[in-house]
């Protein structure tokens, strides 16, 4: 049995909030660098260069990459052999979010109630997904999610007869509808299978997967490659102002589903696809 102190979790989450909002993961950086070289539109190239420059300024001057520092989404894998002491894990995480967003000069973008809409002023509560796993580690993935792109996400409850062609159409529809609103070049997270909520959760989780960490199933890998190519033929381009870089990556997660269904969730993310992992 391993003991982990709640304050330790708070400290880690605080740091993660600040780091995630100032630095992108290396796979994101290398896709962006590559996009600058292959972009066909001059204006598109100019915008991609500005995005690179933006990342440099964010780093050097400690200004968040984007002013929408997001709602904090966390995926927490709890090894069943650990014990958390000194408080409730959910409270510890929310305290970390509060400290990170306050001390890190991040924007507080959360309202307490979806209709009454009063800002909580500390960016809590976070959206936390727990999963119990074997072992004695606590794995925390933090993914601050901006809502320009979140608002353009869609879910499709397809029929089994729609098959893989139906899935492709659904993904293309979501990307086309998103267009300039989602700050392209986008990262497209897709969840196929499960139930209504499982598909959405997989789509979100797919956004946090390293681009070089490829799915084990061949048809899924092929679908990721085909969709990335087809999305980049849509012409939307950087900023939605035309070009050949509409998406930097398509990540697809899958799960078993019901004999009567084929759920497909498309979680759109912008080029500020923030995620950071810590293992305690």
């Amino acid at each position: 049995m391993k003991n982990i102190r709640a304050e330790k979790i708070t400290e880690e989450v605080k740091e993660m909030c600040i780091l995630a909002n100032h630095y992108l993961s290396s796979d994101m950086n290398s896709r962006l660098n590559n996009a600058v070289n292959v972009e066909e539109s001059p204006l598109g190239k100019k915008i991609l260069n500005q995005l690179k420059e933006n990342l440099e300024i964010a780093d050097k001057e400690q200004i968040p990459i984007c002013q929408d520092t997001g709602m904090a989404v966390l995926f927490v894998d709890i090894g069943q052999d650990i014990h958390i002491e000194g408080g409730l894990i959910t409270d510890a995480i929310n305290e970390g979010v509060k400290k990170g967003y306050t001390e890190g000069f991040l924007r507080k973008s959360v309202v307490k109630d979806p209709i009454e809409r009063v800002n909580t002023n500390d960016n809590t509560p976070a959206v936390i997904h727990y999963n119990v796993v074997e072992g004695d580690q606590l794995k925390i993935i933090l993914a601050p999610k901006g809502f320009g792109s979140e608002n353009m996400s869609q879910i499709f409850m397809l029929k089994p007869a729609d098959g893989i062609e139906g899935v492709k159409e659904a993904i293309l529809k979501a990307v086309k509808d998103a267009g300039p609103n989602a700050c392209p070049p986008m990262v497209v997270g897709v969840g196929i299978g499960g139930t209504f909520e499982k598909a959405a959760l997989m789509a979100k989780q797919a956004l946090t997967r390293d681009f070089d960490d490829r799915p084990t199933k061949e048809w899924v890998r092929n679908l990721e490659d085909e969709m990335l190519e087809r999305i980049n033929r849509l012409g939307i381009g950087p900023g939605g102002l035309g070009g050949s870089t509409t998406a930097l990556a398509v990540n697809i997660n899958t799960y078993a589903t019901h004999i009567a269904g084929l759920p497909v969730a498309v979680n759109i993310c912008c080029h500020v696809n923030r995620h950071i992992t810590r293992i305690l």
Binding site: N54, Q67, G235
Partner: protein, 183 residues
């Protein structure tokens, strides 16, 4: 084409803008997003005056991150303009001339842009750190309680934007995509 423009916008400047042009703005820029628009709309409904002089002005749809000490503002890129579509035609009819944001606009907004000879610019979404460097001063002028959504007045220098919808109603989001579409 590139233009260097002093704010407030003049009719001549607006007439010279074509969808796709690159523009550097210098001068005073007002900032308002969702909650501030809702309140301005309610003020008008109740027959009250707007808290800002709207005539000939430009509104930037933005909600910044907090400024570190010694800086005018934090990260400060555009937010999605379509959420302001419900309110924009009324403000345009009252004399608003420019809007800066990102993303598509409704037909009602485009009609109001043409009717009032106004312009919709896009700033690069997700480039808030870069754009903040062009913001030299920032002051909250009302609706302070809205935090990041308060109305601000900025002083910007060579703030880079792209003309998306010009005063004739040409829309870059529609025309540019066709140029690079391959299927």
């Amino acid at each position: 084409m590139e233009h260097k423009i002093k704010l407030p916008l003049t009719s001549e400047a607006i007439e010279g803008f074509k969808s796709g042009d690159y523009v550097f703005l210098t001068g005073e820029l007002y900032v308002a997003r969702d909650a501030a628009h809702k309140r301005m709309n309610e003020a008008l409904d109740q027959g009250n005056n707007l808290p800002i002089p709207i005539k000939n002005q430009t509104i930037y749809y933005m909600g910044p991150s907090p400024a570190r000490q010694g800086r005018a503002i934090g990260s400060a890129g555009p937010t999605t303009a379509s959420r302001m579509d419900k309110y924009a035609p009324r403000l345009l009819d009252l004399g608003l001339k420019g809007m800066v944001g990102k993303g598509k606009r409704s037909k009602e907004v485009i009609d109001a842009i043409v009717r009032n000879k106004a312009v919709y610019f896009a700033a690069v979404g997700g480039a808030g750190a870069l754009l903040s460097k062009c913001i030299k001063e920032s002051e909250v002028i009302c609706y302070d309680d809205l935090g990041a959504e308060a109305i601000r007045k900025l002083y910007v220098e060579d703030f880079p934007v792209i003309v998306v919808i010009d005063s004739k109603g040409n829309n870059l989001y529609e025309t540019a995509i066709l140029k690079y579409k391959k299927d």
